[in-house]
Amino acid sequence: MIALLHRDLMLAFRAGGGFGLGLAFFLIVTVLVPFSVGPQSELLSTIAPGVLWLGALLACLLSLDRLLALDYEDGTLDLLATAPLPLEAALSIKALSHWLTTGLPLVLAAPILGLMLNLEPDGYIWLIASLAFGTPALSVIGTFGAALTVGIKRGGLLMSLLVLPLYVPTLIFGAEAARQGAMGLDGTTPLILLAGITLGTIALMPFASAAVLRMTLR
């Protein structure tokens, strides 16, 4: 299992930096928002927490589509399925490595981007907390989506379509916590619900993903 994690991280860094790129996408989405809604700083600061959450979600989503696709195409998944490692564990590892290379950097970069969107000073801590609690769920749910669409050519967009509704609860609670925090309120309730969702998905989703993957491979 450590071997798989190690290999995935190595591939992420080597293949043009899966790591830096998730981040870059997040950066760019955030940068494009003022171009599209206009440069007024009060408006930007109102929508900042929402935009950052949406940006993080899209950055996760975009890097998902090759999470399993490459391994499928070159036959690695077939071989992994016949290996002694249970598929549930393999997929959890994949989700973990996705989070380490995408979710974690997003959490760390969010404050800087908050600056650019004039996020209220109170909001930073809530933004970081909500992203830190929420992004693991995004990776785990995303792995499920990737497993569902792995055999399908041009599966990338289909996957987005399937995954986005699954992301809705996470997004609602996460953005709510960040928004309340930015308005100087207490965002504890949504944050707790968010943590609940994350724990639940981490515990259960790998089984669904593995089941689905076994069906696609057949």
Partner: protein, 244 residues
């Protein structure tokens, strides 16, 4: 003897080894003198207070950020047209220097913005186009890293640099059209033919600008040498492997 002969890696290494000590010395002297003069020996501005001292970092860095991209553009063209490896590698070597300069301009600008405009960041055209420049640098460097074959990487990044330059200029106008902004206009004498910064600020600023320019040159020469050595090591290794 034609200038192009220095496009031979070995000749280049020789020449740059001879020039570099002087460059580094001159760069260090200029940067140190400019910054120390600026920091310790200039008065505060009546409106901006002591923050005016940031200008000695901000303006030279901003200038070099743009010039570095321009130099990369020229080097890319030389590579595409005459296929001199040194120029491709020089472009590759310049990009990290350019992105650092961009970052310094952005950071010092942001720090300056807090007392002057009351915000760290505003979507001012000059600031915004710098951010876009930063993105171009990032993409350029990432593309160099991602492509396996060095010649293909040089080709692809050169075209990206070309196309990117066109779009950077377009974005500059687009951004100006989109928002009028807070940032002051240019006052560098080369650009306007007159000077608007008073002499007390101007001399240290000019020295600092020269210093940053020399520092850029020295760094690019040194880094190009590194790239050449790496490339040579790779070439030797590849052949060694085939022999076995």
């Amino acid at each position: 003897m034609s200038l192009w002969e220095y496009a031979n890696p070995v000749k280049f290494l020789g020449l740059s080894a001879r020039v570099q000590p002087f460059l580094w010395a001159a760069a260090t002297i200029c940067v140190v003198v400019g910054l120390i003069w600026g920091f310790f020996a200039t008065p505060d501005d009546y409106r901006q207070g002591s923050t005016v001292k940031i200008i000695y970092l901000h303006v030279p860095a901003a200038l070099m950020a743009i010039n570095a991209w321009f130099m990369m553009l020229v080097a890319s063209l030389i590579w595409l047209i005459r296929r001199h490896h040194v120029s491709a590698l020089a472009a590759k070597a310049a990009a990290p220097v350019g992105i650092t300069m961009t970052l310094i301009a952005l950071v010092t600008g942001a720090i300056w913005g807090q007392p002057m405009w009351g915000t760290w960041w505003a979507w001012d055209p000059r600031l915004t186009s710098f951010l876009i420049l930063f993105l171009f640098y990032l993409g350029y460097i990432a593309l160099w890293e991602a492509v396996e074959d060095p010649d293909t990487a040089a080709d692809l990044t050169s075209v990206l640099c070309l196309v990117g330059s066109v779009f950077a200029v377009l974005s500059r106008y687009a951004v100006k059209f989109w928002n009028q902004g807070l940032h002051q206009g240019t006052s560098v004498p080369m650009a306007t033919g007159g000077r608007t910064v008073s002499d007390v600020f101007f001399y240290p600023l000019a020295i600092s600008m020269v210093g940053f320019g020399l520092l850029f040159l020295a760094l690019v020469l040194y880094r190009t040498g590194t790239e050449i050595r790496l490339r040579r090591a790779r070439a030797l290794l590849a052949r060694r492997k085939r022999e076995m």
